[in-house]
Every structure is written in structure tokens, then in C-alpha cells.
């Protein structure tokens, strides 16, 4: 093992959707600044975009404005969002989309050359190669890329971030990257709960299984303030493949029906928009149908023509090819039978819901020198691809300013030594004693606790004070067990750190779910002991900070501010 010490003006951790756009933006606006991306995989095909995309889900189609977008997102998130953040990102959708189109992304247009809308906020793309396209732009901009370097912790002195440490899973070197400003863009967290599928399909999750909450965990360990972890994301997805349903529901207008053929969203949730109800309700509705014995639940596609069914398959091939193979392998024709749906295992994803770093409008976190963008940053749901791009751009502009004014920090040698010992401990334990806990075993342990006591699918995602306290107690033992982790080689070493990170995320999540004593987002976090929404007490953000010395997690609230006038529970 050797140490590679690198100095860069700006360090971007995670070369995904937000990270690549941030890199280009820094280089364009501040050509004098050097940029380094630290990426656990290879930026050509890493993170959520690896398989491709078929739509840009956050875009202002004709007639829409940043304000109308905020109104919709506020409605969709049950009346509570950071309006300043959602406003500022939506103002940049156009800029980002045009930029990526110029780099070569095919966007579907009509005869007049206008983008083809899919609903109010979506446009269709042929995005099979979206990731290599933005990665190439990042490389062309002169970014230094460290592929296969897994970030493990920030370099922090007196609450100020001066870069990060990572481990190369190709040669086991420790990378110590000192930076004047750091942007965290590692995406959200999958694998906290028991997966829907077992055995050789356990990673057939909707969210990218390699986004394991590293950015959250690094922030939690460094004492950064986090927000809204209790707004878990539990998506309505196609049964078994866990493929996104927007392609079907929006693409061909398919309502949800239960096993009796009843359009339950249209009847039971008419008052909040029926099949257009806020996203959490579109998961809550079917969960209730199944719980009460009226499952399976379907998206009714029987009205579509065989040409529409073909178009649907083409759309999935751009984003989720296994869906098409699944239909062929099960002799399912979506124009003849409805498509069965289910809800996913819960994820922590700041780009769909709003869990993540508490940031200001410049995307600065509560730690000096650290900016956050994409699924790792909180307060702004409904980001999707384009919102992550926008946040990458905003973070880049402000991190660039900061880097211009600040110097490299002195990093005491003991900080590096301590991290080096922590990082390599599982490898050493394997060599020295061979007996211990495999990362996979700890992962299953964690997922079992979360599934059974912290609102997993088996309990219809419901939580209560008592059960959450059991989860909290069981989780509290896990950090003491980290010393027993063993890793035989570098790939397994990465897995060891993935599960360590997930434990930190899970602990914070449980604290948040315990704190919010209301049910604001049915389906995402249904409390059996506080079943109603309570605007009087809980129209505010639940935030947390872990004490770096004691390890205690302090939970508190921050006020909500309405900027865009109007009824918070109306989509327009």
C-alpha cells in the first residue's frame, strides 16, 4: 500500500449526473482552477445513469414557469419543500438540457423541432448513452479523473473540509486529495432495507445498488447537518423487475386498478387528484389495497394498441432493458393484460424525495468548504436528472468562488493515519485472523433490523414509536461490530465500507422517523401512532447532526418558508 497525495483546487466526489456537470461548469467559469473527480466506478458508466434514461423528468414544458413548478412539487411533497432550492434549480433546467443536447444527447422533437412533452414536466430522450456523453464532456473540459477510488471520509479540521480520502480498488493505494473546495455528489442510498428480490436477483433494485450512501455517511461522521431522512422514497414500480412506472402511466395513460378491477385511486383519492395524486399517495394507495386483500394491483394498459405496446418496449430499452426481456420470458403482452405493480424497498434519495445535506441556496452545506448536489443533497425533491444537473452547476459556481478565495488547509498527519487504519482494518483482519464478519453478512443483518422494526415492506412500511426504538437499540450495537469485519480482497474491502456507511445512514434515518410525530407522507413514512398530517406542529423540517466527539445524534427542527403564494395542497 502506498499513499498518493494529490492537490486540486476543486474536488468532486462522485462522477455521476451532478458530478460531471459540476466539473464542466467549474472548468468553463474558472479556467484557472483545476478539477479532480473521485469516482468509485468508471465515470463512463457509473451511478444511476449506467443503464440509460428515456426521459428528462424535470423540465418546464410550454406554459410552465419556475413558480408553477414549485407549486406542483410542493403539492407532490405534501406541502413541505425548500422553495428557495426548488426555484433556483428549475431556473436552470433549460440551460442544462440545452447544454447536454449540444454534447450529443438525442432529444425527441416534433416536425417543428419542439421537444415532445410527456406530461407537464417531462420530455422524451433517447438516453441509452447519456452517461458516456456527459462523462466525455467532463473529460474534455480538462478534469482529472480518479476512477475506482472509493471515497471514505473528508479531511476535516475545525469543522472545515479540505478534501477527502479514498481507497483505490485497483491497487489498494490510499488517495489523499487536498482541495480548496469540495463538492459531494455521490447520489443516494440503496440497500438499507431487505431487497424485494432474493438470491441472484437481490440487486435487481430500482435505485442504483452501488450508491450506498457514502456521501451521507461521510457528512454524518463529520458533523454536517442533515434534513428529512424520514421522507424515504418508496416507489411504485413494475412487479419483479422494479422498473419505473412513469414510462407506462405517463406514456400511455394507464390508471391503477386492484384485483376487482376497481380504479381505486380515482375513487378513494379523488380529493387529492386520483391517479394524479402526490407521489407518496400513489404508493400508499396500492399498499392499502394489498394490505386489505384486494391485490394484486395493476396499471391498466389493456386499452393500448399493439403499436403503443411496441413503443413502450422501445422506451424501456433506452432505460430499463430487462423489462422487455421480462415480458418476453413471461409471455406478457401489455396491450392484452394489465401490468402488475408493487412498491419498492425504501431508499434514501434526495432527488426524488428530499433527504440529504441541509444546504443553503448556493448548495453550501453546514461545513465550510463543502457543497452538495444531486441525490445526496436535501430539501429539493423532484430533481431527477435535470435537477441534479442544475444543482451540480450551482454548486460548481459557488465552490469555484470559494476556491478562489481560500488556500489549501494544513492536514495533521494523525488524521490521515487514523483514516488509513480505519480503511484497511477489514483487510488486515482477514490476513491476521480470517475469522470475522463478511460485509455481506453485516448487510443482511442491517437489512433484517430495518425491514422488521423500521418500516420495511413486510409491515407495509408502517412505523411506530415502540418498533423504532427496537430498531434503534439493535442498530446501536452494529458500530461496535465494525472491528470484526473482514475483507479478502479490494472489491470486498469496498463492500465493507459500503455496509459501514449504510449503518450510519440507517441510524440517522431511525432518529428522523422517531422525531416526526405525524404522517405527512403516507406510504413513505406511515406512523401507526400518529396517523394524520399535523400542519400546526409539523410544518417544518426535521434535521439532525451527529456529535463528532460523542457520536450522539441531535435532532431538531428548522422552519418552513413559503415563497410562492397559493394553496400548498393544490398542484396549480
Amino acid at each position: 500500500m502506498e499513499q498518493n497525495i494529490i492537490e486540486t483546487d476543486i474536488l468532486i466526489i462522485g462522477g455521476g449526473t451532478a458530478g460531471c456537470l459540476a466539473a464542466v461548469e467549474v472548468r468553463e467559469r474558472f479556467p484557472n482552477l483545476s478539477v479532480t473527480i473521485m469516482e468509485k466506478a468508471h465515470i463512463d458508466r457509473s451511478g444511476c445513469l449506467a443503464g440509460g434514461m428515456n426521459a428528462i423528468n424535470a423540465y418546464l414544458n410550454p406554459g410552465e414557469t419556475p413558480e408553477s413548478f414549485v407549486k406542483y412539487v410542493r403539492f407532490d411533497s405534501c406541502g413541505l419543500i425548500r422553495e428557495d432550492l426548488v426555484l433556483s434549480m428549475s431556473k436552470l433546467f433549460e440551460y442544462c438540457v440545452k447544454k447536454v443536447e449540444k454534447w450529443g444527447l438525442p432529444i425527441l422533437c416534433d416536425e417543428k423541432g419542439n421537444y415532445i412533452p410527456r406530461g407537464r414536466w417531462n420530455i422524451k430522450i433517447n438516453g441509452e448513452s447519456l452517461k458516456p456523453i456527459i462523462a466525455k464532456a467532463a473529460k474534455n473540459a480538462g478534469t482529472k479523473v480518479l476512477n475506482w477510488v472509493v471515497a471514505t471520509n473528508y479531511l476535516v479540521v475545525d469543522g472545515k473540509v479540505g478534501g477527502a480520502v479514498g481507497v483505490s480498488i485497483r491497487n489498494g493505494n490510499l488517495f489523499i486529495v487536498k482541495a480548496k473546495a469540495t463538492i459531494i455528489a455521490t447520489g443516494g442510498a440503496a440497500g438499507i432495507y431487505k431487497p424485494n428480490n432474493a438470491h441472484d436477483a437481490q440487486h435487481k433494485t430500482w435505485y442504483c445498488p452501488y450508491n450506498t450512501g457514502a456521501g451521507f455517511a461521510m457528512g454524518i461522521r463529520a458533523g454536517a447537518e442533515m434534513t428529512s431522512f424520514e421522507m424515504r422514497y418508496i416507489g411504485l414500480r413494475v412487479k419483479d423487475t422494479i422498473a419505473p412506472t412513469g414510462t407506462i402511466a405517463l406514456g400511455v395513460g394507464a390508471p391503477q386498478i386492484n384485483s376487482k378491477g376497481e380504479k381505486f385511486m380515482a375513487t378513494k383519492y379523488a380529493h387529492i387528484g386520483g391517479d394524479g395524486a402526490p407521489t407518496p399517495y400513489r404508493s400508499h394507495g396500492p399498499i392499502q389495497e394489498i394490505k386489505e386483500g384486494r391485490g394484486p394491483v395493476y396499471l391498466d394498459t389493456r386499452h393500448i394498441t399493439s403499436q403503443q405496446a411496441r413503443d413502450l418496449k422501445s422506451a424501456f430499452l433506452d432505460m430499463y432493458p430487462s423489462m422487455v426481456l421480462y415480458w418476453a420470458a413471461n409471455e406478457i403482452d401489455p396491450s392484452k393484460e394489465p401490468v402488475e405493480v408493487q412498491t419498492t424497498e425504501p431508499y434514501i434519495v434526495g432527488g426524488h424525495t428530499q433527504s440529504g445535506y441541509w444546504i443553503d441556496v448556493n448548495r453550501k452545506t453546514t461545513l465550510d468548504g463543502l457543497y452538495a448536489a444531486g441525490d445526496v443533497s436535501g430539501g429539493a425533491p423532484y430533481k431527477f436528472v435535470s435537477g441534479c444537473w442544475a444543482e451540480g452547476v450551482i454548486a460548481a459556481m459557488n465552490a469555484g468562488e470559494y476556491a478562489q478565495k481560500n488556500e489549501f488547509m494544513e492536514i495533521p498527519a494523525d488524521i490521515i493515519e487514523e483514516e488509513q487504519n480505519r480503511v484497511f482494518a477489514p483487510l488486515l483482519s482477514f490476513t491476521n485472523k480470517k475469522d470475522g464478519i463478511r460485509p455481506y453478512d453485516m448487510e443482511v443483518r442491517l437489512q433484517k433490523i430495518m425491514e422488521e422494526y423500521a418500516g420495511g415492506a413486510a409491515t407495509f412500511y408502517e412505523v411506530s414509536e415502540e418498533r423504532l426504538h427496537v430498531a434503534k437499540r439493535r442498530l446501536s450495537t452494529l458500530p461496535d461490530q465494525f472491528k470484526h469485519l473482514i475483507a479478502e480482497e479490494l472489491h470486498e474491502l469496498m463492500k465493507a465500507h459500503e455496509v459501514i456507511d449504510r449503518v450510519y445512514v440507517a441510524q440517522t434515518l431511525v432518529e428522523h422517523m422517531l422525531y416526526r410525530k405525524e404522517t405527512r407522507w403516507p406510504g413513505y413514512c406511515t406512523r401507526t401512532d400518529y396517523t394524520e398530517r399535523d400542519d400546526e406542529q409539523w410544518l417544518k423540517f426535521v434535521n439532525s447532526r451527529r456529535d463528532v466527539v460523542t457520536g450522539n445524534i441531535e435532532v431538531f427542527t428548522r422552519p418552513y418558508e413559503q415563497i410562492v403564494p397559493g394553496d400548498r395542497y393544490k398542484p396549480r
Binding site: 466506478a41 463512463d44 443503464g51 444527447l105 432493458p321
Partner: protein
Amino acid sequence: MPVVVHADKCNTCHGSHNPPCVRMCPGDLLMKDPKTGKILMRDPAECWDCLPCVKVCPQEAIEFRLSYQLGFHTARLLPHIHDTRDFITWELIDTEGAIDNFTIRTKVLPVELDEKIEGVAAVDFSI
């Protein structure tokens, strides 16, 4: 069994140390067999079924298979990138062997058969 590597079709990308299939996997799941230089799947249970490895292999040596718990044998889905790189044709074969082709616009970027890794000697990353 999410992806299978057909060893007879893999030509090791002419002895590449860091071939495209290995580079494109977001989960670091494909590795070179130190003895044969051919490609091995570390652990099928870790695969996301996202298919960059399948699409990027110039020999079409990697095939996607749905885990058996999710679908019946032997439906297949084979992507073929056009030489112009502007289109991709997905060949879908159902359990009865009937073939359906879907041709979709894309923009496939050219991919090098080998690539250096910053700070790492070739011998270190060839396994």
C-alpha cells in the same frame, strides 16, 4: 444469473489490461481471469442488470440473462450496435423462439480497447 460471459467469443480485446467490459460495470463485477485473460463475473448476485457491459463488448461475448426466478428459459435480448453508432437494434427472442427487432436512435461513443489508470501500473489492474 444476470450476465453470462461466453468465453469462446471473448478475444480478451487483444490482451487488453483494462478492457471495456471491465471499465463499464458500475459495480466492479467483471474481472480478468489472471490465468486466461478472459472475463469472469465476480458475483451474479451483485449485478444490477443495467447492461453497459453487454452493449460495449465488441465481440458480443457477454449476454444478459434474466434471473430464473423472474422469467422462463430461454427468452433472450441481444443488443447490436450499428457500425454507424447512431442506432442500436435490440433482438428480442421469446420462449418459443420468435424474434422481434427494435431499432432505436442513440449516440454510441467510440470506446478504446484499453485504458491506463491514473496512478496504477498495468500489472496491478489486470486482475
